[in-house]
Assembly symmetry: C2
Homo-oligomer: 325 residues x 2
């Protein structure tokens, strides 16, 4: 880890800064990179914000979101590179990897972070990279403008599931309160994040629910997504985020998953655990990865076969867990 002084020196000596965040970006990736950029711009730095996947329409409501662009083919000259909210360097995307440059700073909250930066500023107890950044901005006496506050609020709110997930602490809510006082509007921002779905997305959810099944005394819940469902509903593939969470609302469900046929050669699964089962372990056995409570798989197995293998492994884990009580 690095001292605050080193970080202070890095920023003082950098006139041009480029921020990066992970592929398939979420609210914390966008929120943290945008907030950091806007704060650094406020003190006169030239800052660009890159994401391999560009800007998702779901987050275009963020202030100055137009600043988020896809990275250029070649690295910008004499530019300090900062990665935020990204556990491993390859998650920064293929363009960044092709530059073959180590980031100068790696700021993140993932416990699986591989410390790939020249400096690494990691707090795996923090529920969101935006929370780490807020504390850092205060320590470095960098400005938290109203726009910075809005971005940080979105990062914290989305990565804590609206202050519900495990790593949410009193400090998280105190920081959120400070961000509101600095100009973040909680109801407007939550409406932008959570009441911002298309009608098609709800139609897709309906189609998915019609394939819903339970297993292992309602401890497993799952449904399917197929290309046909996207066609019928008109939903786009980025709109599947959060669908699996509707299954987690059932009190008996220890493991929920959604399994998606992408095309004839690719199947994707997204797994969630209530806590008893380590879904990262199950995913990794099938070529995927992630966290204890949330993991994913991309596989060449056809959907029915991957589904069968998943059910087998989850059932086995549940049996083992209840046996070891």
């Amino acid at each position: 880890m690095n001292s605050l002084n080193n970080l202070q020196t890095l920023i003082a000596n950098s006139q041009r800064i480029a921020l990066f965040s992970h592929i398939r970006p979420d609210g914390d990736a966008y929120g943290t990179s945008l907030a950091f950029a806007l704060s650094l711009r406020a003190i006169g730095k030239e800052v660009t914000i890159y994401n391999e996947d560009g800007l998702s329409s779901l987050y275009s409501f963020l202030p100055q979101s137009h600043l988020i662009t896809s990275p250029p083919q070649n690295p910008p000259p004499e530019t300090t590179l900062i990665a935020v909210d990204t556990a491993t360097q390859d998650r920064l995307g293929s363009t960044f990897l092709s530059w073959k440059i180590q980031p100068d700073l790696n700021l993140d909250h993932h416990i699986s972070n591989t410390l790939y930066g020249k400096m690494n500023w990691i707090d795996s107890d923090s529920p969101a990279s935006s929370q780490i950044l807020f504390e850092l901005l205060q320590q470095l006496q960098l400005p938290v403008t109203a726009e910075v506050a809005q971005c940080l609020y979105v990062g914290i709110m989305t990565d804590t599931g609206s202050f519900r997930y495990r790593q949410t602490t009193a400090k998280t809510l105190e920081i959120a309160a400070a961000l509101i006082r600095a100009g973040a509007n909680p109801s407007e921002l939550s409406q932008s994040c959570y009441q911002n779905y298309s009608a098609s997305r709800l139609l897709l959810q309906k189609e998915a629910l019609n394939t819903m099944k339970f297993d292992h005394d309602n401890q497993i819940a799952y449904f399917r997504l197929t290309p046909e469902m996207f066609q019928i509903s008109g939903a786009s593939s980025e709109e599947t985020e959060g669908l699996v969470e509707s299954l987690q609302a059932v009190r008996t469900v220890e493991v929920a998953f959604v399994i998606e046929k992408i095309d004839e050669t690719t199947t994707r699964a997204s797994l969630r655990s209530r806590g008893k089962i380590d879904v990262q372990k199950i995913a990794s056995e099938l070529g995927g990865g992630g966290h204890t409570l949330a993991a994913g798989i991309r596989s060449k197995l056809p959907l029915p076969l991957l589904e069968e293998k998943l059910l087998e492994k989850i059932n086995f884990s549940l049996q083992s867990a209840s046996g070891s009580k």
Copy 2:
């Protein structure tokens, strides 16, 4: 309104206290009454907690929830009566009304509160009665034990939709943080509140979504509930709470409603507005009531007819609203 001194005197002079909250109780009704009772018990008062509908299984996780019972036929002697979170006296239920006693204290946050208490402690800017009670306990120097904090946290969290609704302020999050420091566990309590559904409830949602329709360029979304759906899914009638909110997640939806056939002679509708349309006005025209953003109707009209009238009125309101721009 009444001064803090009067309230202090009331509590000092009361040895036996009974708390009441509204019929069809929610997290704020249960949370506030239970928190108040536990704090008063901690200083040696004899406190009972009544609710006409007793304790819902959805909230049995609250600490000491077994203390919540249906009120006795006759009023307990020499007992101070406190109503919490209840806008009008009739919402305290038929048993309380039959006692023909005015509550000594009426603590509430509803803007429509009719000030029916001998003392009235109302703050309609507050997003939850539990938030008002927390401030009051502090002012009266009454104990906020871990159990009190848990109940208050649930009241605030549920009545703000997890810190998302309009009246959520920095103060709300600061109080929530203080409650966490006093012993409320945010992830455990939110799991109890939001991941506590039965599998049947999800099956009911599936059935309802299959009847979903959109109208007025996706500005209206609605679905039906019928006795057959409850039979197929196995869900109970109290499990319909929150179903309408899945429709509100769509960004174009200004008004969402769920319409339910209770039996051959009764139809119920539950309406939600994003802000532009006053659904209380629409509901009151059809014999119902409520708030600007959330209202309900109980009607003798058969479902298809009430649905038709609702659609007519909502369409008209949307036309008027867009015409008056």
